[in-house]
C-alpha cells in the first residue's frame, strides 16, 4: 500500500476548509450555512486523521471522534434554531434575524 504523502492530505483539508468558509460567508440560506460549517469541521477532522497517519498515532482518530460528536450536537441545536427561525420569520435567510429582541 503506497502511502499518500501528508502534504496532499493537508492540502485537501485546506481546500475543503476554504470551500466551507466561502460557503458560510457567501450563502444567505441558514441551512446551507450549517452545511458549510459541517464541511469546515470535516476539513479539520481530515487534517487530524492525516497527521495521525503520518506519525502512526491513534490521537488523530480520537480527535476525529470528538469532532464527530461535537458536530452531531451542533447540528441538533442548529436545526432546532433553524426551525425556530422559520417559525418566527417565515424565511431561512440568516440576514433577516439581525435583531435581538423579545
Amino acid at each position: 500500500m503506497t502511502a499518500i504523502p501528508m502534504e496532499h492530505g493537508l492540502a485537501l483539508a485546506g481546500v475543503l476548509f476554504v470551500l466551507g468558509l466561502a460557503g458560510v460567508l457567501a450563502r444567505r440560506n441558514i441551512v446551507f450555512i450549517l452545511m458549510s460549517i459541517e464541511i469546515m469541521l470535516n476539513a479539520a477532522g481530515l487534517a487530524f486523521v492525516v497527521a495521525g497517519a503520518r506519525w502512526a498515532a491513534a490521537d488523530g482518530q480520537v480527535m476525529f471522534f470528538f469532532i464527530l460528536a461535537t458536530a452531531a450536537a451542533e447540528v441538533a441545536v442548529g436545526l432546532a434554531l433553524v426551525l425556530q427561525l422559520y417559525h418566527r420569520f417565515h424565511t431561512v435567510d440568516a440576514d433577516a434575524a439581525s435583531k435581538m429582541r423579545g
Binding site: L25, I33, A97
Partner: protein, 629 residues
C-alpha cells in the same frame, strides 16, 4: 488615695449620657439634680484628691499618674489613656469643677423657663467632662481630645438658641476661627511625635530638653505651632474675633466657657508645655508681645461697647492677654494665679450681668439700663465686688494680687522690661475705666426700666460664693512686701519652674503704681460717665472721637479685614468654581469612553455573516503574522 481621680471627668460624662437619653422626658427638677449633681460630685471628688496632693508628705514627688489603658498602638505610636495630676492640673481641676458647679447651680434657675432645659444641662455636663479631660490629660493626644470636646460644646452652646440664624452664624464663626488654631496644634502634635517619638507630656518635656538645643529650629517650630493653637482657643490676636460674637449663647455658657474655663485652655497648654517654650525664646517673647498687644487692643474695644456682655467679652480677651504676658516673661505661676482669680471674678460678673439681663426682659444694651443699685441690691454688691476685682482695686480684691504679680514679673523678668510693663499698666487703667463705666451705666443714674423679676436662692448662692472668692482668692498669694507668703506659688513650684527672681526689687513701688492706675481709672470713669456724662458724649461726638469710637466698636476692624481678605476671596473662588472646571478632566474621560462605545456598537450589526467574516479575517491576519514573523 488618688484612685478616685478617674471619677472626676467620669461623673459629668455620666450626667451627660443620662441627660442625653432622658433629658427630654424627665421633669425639670430631676434634670437639674442630675445636671448640677454630677458636676457637684465631681467637684467633691476633685477636692478630696487635691487635698491628698496638697498634704503629700515632703520628699515624695507631688504628682500622680493613672494609666487607664493604651488608646491605640499603631507603628510605634502608642498614646496612653493617662490622667496626670500635679500641682498645675490640680489647680485647674479645682477651679473648673467648682466654678462649673456654681455656674450650673445658677443655670438651674436662670434657664428654668427655657424649652431646651435638658439639652442645656447635657451640653454643659459634656463641657465640664471635656474640660476636666483636657486639664487632667497626661498624654498630648488625650489633651487634644478634651481640647476638641470643649470646642464642640462651645459651638453647641453658642448656637443653643438655634432658631435665630444670627446665633448659628456666631457658633459657626467661633468653631471655624478656633479651628484655624486647632489645625496648627494638630500639626504641632504630629511634629512632636515624629521628632520625639512619644506623645506623653512628661516624656515630651524630658526628651525635648535633651534632644533639642535652646532656640533650635524644631523647638521653635513646635512651640510656634502650639502657640497658634493656644491663640485660637484663648481668643488672642489675631484670632480673637470669635469671642465677642460668642456672647450669643446663654449667659451661664458665657460665664463658664467663654470667661472662666475654656478660653484659658490656651494658657494651660502653654504652662503645661513650659519646657518646650523655654527652649524657644523667640516664641516665648512672641507670647508676651501677643499678650500685651491683645490686652491693649481689647481694653480699647471694651471701652466703647454698648452691649454689657460684649464689654465682658472684650474684657476677657484683655485679661487672658495678661495671662499670656505672664507666660511670655516666664512667670508661669503668676499666669495660673491670674487665671484662677479671673475665673472667680469674671464668672461673677457674667452671672451678675445675667441677672440684670433677665430682670430687664433680655435687654443687653447698657444705655437702656440704669439705677439698678436700689432695685437689685444683692446683685449690685456682687457685681461691684467683681468689678473691683477686675479693675484690681488695691489690697482688698483678688484681682489686685494676681494682676500686680503679673505686672511685677513683667517688670523684673529678663525678657520683660519697661515696654511690656507699660502696656500692662495702660491696660490696667483702661480696665478700671471700662469696668466702672459699666457699673455706673447699669447701676447708677436714673432708673430707666424697672426689673421684672428678682433672683432666687439658686442664683444668690453662686453669686455670694463667687463674690467671696473674688476677695479672699487673692490672699493665698500675698506679696512679700505685705508680709505674706506665696502659698500658691509654693504649691505650683512642684510642677512649674519658679520665676527667676525670688524677690522683686522695689516691689512696694510697683504695687503703689499699679494701685494708683486702678484708682485713676475709676476716677476717670466716675468723671466721664457719672458726674458729667455730657463730657463723654462730647468726646464721642467729635470727629476724631466718633471715628475712634466706630473703629473700636467694631473690634479694630478685624472682622472687616477678615471679610475682605479671607471670606470674600474664598466666596469668589467658590463662585468661579461653580462650573467645576477641575472636574472637566474627568468629564473628558467620560466623554471619550462614550465616544468609543458609540463607535464599537456600530460593529454589532446582528448580521451573523459579518461576524463570521470578522472571525475569518482575524484568523487570516493572525496566521499570516505567525507565519511571516
Amino acid at each position: 488615695m488618688f484612685k478616685p481621680l478617674l471619677l472626676v471627668p467620669l461623673l459629668p460624662l455620666a450626667g451627660f449620657l443620662l441627660l442625653v437619653l432622658g433629658g427630654r422626658r424627665w421633669p425639670r427638677a430631676l434634670v437639674a439634680v442630675i445636671g448640677v449633681g454630677a458636676v457637684g460630685l465631681a467637684a467633691l471628688v476633685a477636692s478630696l484628691v487635691a487635698g491628698a496632693l496638697f498634704y503629700m508628705p515632703a520628699g515624695m514627688p507631688r504628682e500622680f499618674t493613672q494609666t487607664l489603658w493604651t488608646w491605640m498602638n499603631v507603628g510605634g505610636f502608642a498614646p496612653q489613656m493617662t490622667l496626670h495630676l500635679d500641682a498645675l492640673s490640680c489647680a485647674m481641676m479645682l477651679v473648673v469643677a467648682w466654678v462649673g458647679f456654681l455656674i450650673l447651680l445658677y443655670s438651674a434657675e436662670f434657664m428654668a423657663d427655657d424649652d431646651g432645659y435638658g439639652r442645656f444641662f447635657a451640653y454643659m455636663d459634656l463641657f465640664v467632662a471635656s474640660m476636666l479631660v483636657l486639664v487632667l490629660a497626661g498624654d498630648l493626644l488625650l489633651l487634644y481630645l478634651g481640647w476638641e470636646g470643649v470646642g464642640l460644646c462651645s459651638y453647641l452652646l453658642i448656637g443653643f438658641w438655634y432658631r435665630d440664624p444670627a446665633n448659628g452664624r456666631a457658633a459657626r464663626k467661633a468653631f471655624i476661627v478656633t479651628r484655624v488654631g486647632d489645625a496648627a496644634f494638630a500639626v504641632g502634635l504630629a511634629l512632636l511625635f515624629t521628632q520625639l517619638g512619644t506623645s506623653a507630656i512628661p516624656q515630651i518635656a524630658e526628651r525635648a530638653s535633651t534632644q533639642w538645643a535652646s532656640g533650635s529650629t524644631l523647638a521653635t517650630a513646635a512651640a510656634a505651632l502650639l502657640l497658634a493653637g493656644a491663640v485660637g482657643k484663648s481668643a488672642q490676636l489675631p484670632l480673637q474675633v470669635w469671642l465677642p460674637d460668642a456672647m450669643a449663647g446663654p449667659t451661664p455658657t458665657s460665664a463658664l466657657i467663654h470667661a472662666a474655663t475654656m478660653v484659658t485652655a490656651g494658657v494651660y497648654l502653654i504652662a503645661r508645655m513650659n519646657v518646650l517654650f523655654a527652649l524657644a525664646p523667640a516664641v516665648q517673647l512672641a507670647v508676651a508681645i501677643i499678650g500685651a498687644a491683645t490686652l491693649l487692643m481689647a481694653s480699647f474695644a471694651a471701652l466703647v461697647q454698648t452691649d454689657i456682655k460684649r464689654v465682658l467679652a472684650y474684657s476677657t480677651i484683655s485679661q487672658i492677654g495678661y495671662m499670656f504676658l505672664a507666660l511670655g516673661v516666664g512667670a508661669w505661676s503668676a499666669a495660673i494665679f491670674h487665671f484662677m482669680t479671673h475665673a472667680f471674678f469674671k464668672s461673677l460678673l457674667f452671672l451678675g450681668a445675667g441677672v440684670v439681663i433677665m430682670a430687664l426682659h433680655h435687654e443687653h444694651d447698657m444705655r437702656k439700663m440704669g439705677g439698678l443699685r436700689k432695685e437689685l441690691p444683692g446683685t449690685f454688691w456682687a457685681f461691684l465686688i467683681g468689678a473691683a476685682s477686675l479693675a484690681a482695686l488695691p489690697l482688698v480684691t483678688a484681682g489686685f494680687y494676681s494682676k500686680d504679680l503679673v505686672l511685677a514679673r513683667a517688670w523684673v523678668a529678663p525678657t520683660g522690661g519697661l515696654w511690656l510693663w507699660l502696656a500692662g499698666l495702660a491696660g490696667a487703667v483702661l480696665t478700671a475705666v471700662y469696668t466702672f463705666r459699666m457699673v455706673f451705666l447699669v447701676f447708677f443714674g436714673p432708673v430707666k426700666e424697672k426689673p421684672s423679676r428678682r433672683p432666687g436662692v439658686a442664683i444668690g448662692i453662686p453669686l455670694a460664693v463667687l463674690a467671696t472668692l473674688s476677695i479672699v482668692g487673692g490672699f493665698i498669694e500675698l506679696p512679700a512686701s505685705l508680709g505674706g507668703r506665696p502659698v500658691f506659688s509654693d504649691f505650683l513650684a512642684s510642677a512649674l519652674p519658679v520665676a527667676a527672681a525670688e524677690g522683686i526689687p522695689a516691689e512696694g513701688w510697683l504695687q503703689a503704681v499699679a494701685g494708683l492706675a486702678c484708682i485713676v481709672g475709676i476716677w476717670l470713669a466716675y468723671v466721664c460717665f457719672l458726674r458729667s456724662p455730657a463730657l463723654a458724649d462730647r468726646m464721642a461726638a467729635s470727629a476724631v472721637g466718633s471715628a475712634l469710637r466706630r473703629f473700636w466698636f467694631g473690634g479694630w476692624g478685624f472682622d472687616w479685614a477678615y471679610e475682605q481678605f479671607f471670606i470674600r476671596p474664598y466666596l469668589w473662588i467658590a463662585r468661579v468654581n461653580k462650573g467645576d472646571f477641575i472636574d472637566a478632566f474627568y468629564a473628558g474621560v467620560a466623554w471619550a469612553g462614550r465616544l468609543g462605545h458609540t463607535l464599537l456598537s456600530q460593529t454589532q450589526t446582528g448580521n451573523v455573516r459579518w461576524y463570521a467574516m470578522g472571525l475569518a479575517i482575524g484568523a487570516v491576519v493572525f496566521i499570516a503574522l505567525a507565519v511571516l514573523l
